[in-house]
Amino acid sequence: MKILVCITHVPDTTSKIQFTDNNTKFDKNGVQFIIGPYDDYALARAVELKEQLGASLTVLNVGEADTEPTLRKALAIGADDAIRINAFPKDSLFVASEIAAIAKENNYDLILMGRESIDFNGGMVHGMVGQLLGMPSVSPVMKLDIEGDTVKMAREIEGGKEYLEAKLPLIAGCQEPIAEWKIPNMRGIMSARTKPLNVIEPSQNQSATAVVEFKLPPAKGAVKLVDKDNVEELVKLLKNDAKVL
């Protein structure tokens, strides 16, 4: 069995978001980059499946050279080899069509990724890859087990979950609690240095949208504090000022 996990290289969840170059570029200054938290869940589940089923596990990122430490970390966590598509990920379609092109050559049985990246939050790449390859795509998946060629999943829906079954090959966008995040151990970190990381130039170069400007939300005014013995005052504010009651 061959598994592909697609990961994003995104700012740590505690990062302060700022922009430069006239609000056209993300300001990387002082920002720590991580494997996308949802992708990290997908990777952790893939490592478990690899151990359980004896699969090969490739990890892929569409990004420029500065994303390599993130790919190395995925190798340290348990991927066998890595692919970096050497391009700035312009939009969801761009990323999806590059992934689909690689997948077509390699015939993966299972393609996992996070439900969405935490920078652009599109949550679209898995579905696009599914359509491009003519494969089922399921997201957001919170449980995934493989029995023979059947994949049993739980998918989150508003206010609950639904249980699904499908045959391999399949693409899934993952989220917690599909697996516990894995922290690389020393042996993993050492071996990651020598595992193959193949850099491939983009072959599709498709995109349909472009960001022209980033904006930050307006600053929040100061909080209006109400005395704890006067909750009626809060109710009055909610009713008369905010008009939400």
Partner: protein, 322 residues
Amino acid sequence: MSILVYIEHADGAIKKTSLEAVSFAHALAQQTGGGDVVAVGLGTIAEDQLAKAGEAGASKVLYVKDSNLDAGVIQAHADAVAQIYEKVGAETLILATSSLGSAVAARLAVRLQAGLVSNVVELPDLSSGYQVKRSIYTGKAFAVTTVDTAHKILAIKKNAIDLKTDGATASVELVSLDIAQANFATTITSTDQATGEVLLPEADIVVSGGRGLKGPENWGMIEDLAKVLGAATGCSKPVSDIGWRPHHEHVGQTGVKVAPTLYIAVGISGAIQHLAGVNSSKYIVVINKDPEAPFFKAADYGIVGDAFEVLPKLTEAIKAVI
């Protein structure tokens, strides 16, 4: 030009987020000098429910009455909507950003060769090209995005537009489609969904509790307040991690992102990951006994006090006015 709207339903009623999508499409049609707003419903839905899409701004509702589509099989829904889109000759598809809507939209973007923008927060600016504002970095920023394709799909975020309620009742037209069996490659075997409750991702008011509540046995206070307000209940990540509350109530960066008009946080300190899930709320009330809790910086109103003391009083005070 026609705009197609994919509407979702739960227990036979159209979801409010889908009605917002209809209102968004109506406003977009007005902006571009008129044109039909056609809504499409799949599965088994009461026709008087479908007609309600008219009140929200649809001129026509196409109803694919097919019990095979009752379950939200992603590929099958995508195929049905694509067929309708082509039949109508639409140029734009509007839908709500949701568990099913987003999954369907992604497949359709490829199939219809349409530029797709998700988490759209306001009507497009058509003054120079086609610019759409969307929420990114989990609500911490926005990106103004141009769509370069003739066909467009906009997945809109909750509260992107005020719901229109004064439209005329729409005519409902039955349509039958031939959906290839290959689109049912995934089978939904069962669902496990809270019923009769206000669903968190769609709620207008949310009451959330954190570790400050000290244990799951104290959640009655949160539920009481939520009941009075007709609100959904949520929780912080630590609370769902230790199993006090189910995962689908976890509000935050890696949980549910909410966009209610009122968010009440009780005993939650306000870690940046939690704030990322609530920063699209219109008003935030924070109740916390620690005056230094970072959540107060993100709040509109606050009470520094013990939840066990404040919450019952607040519930009573609200009961008295509504």
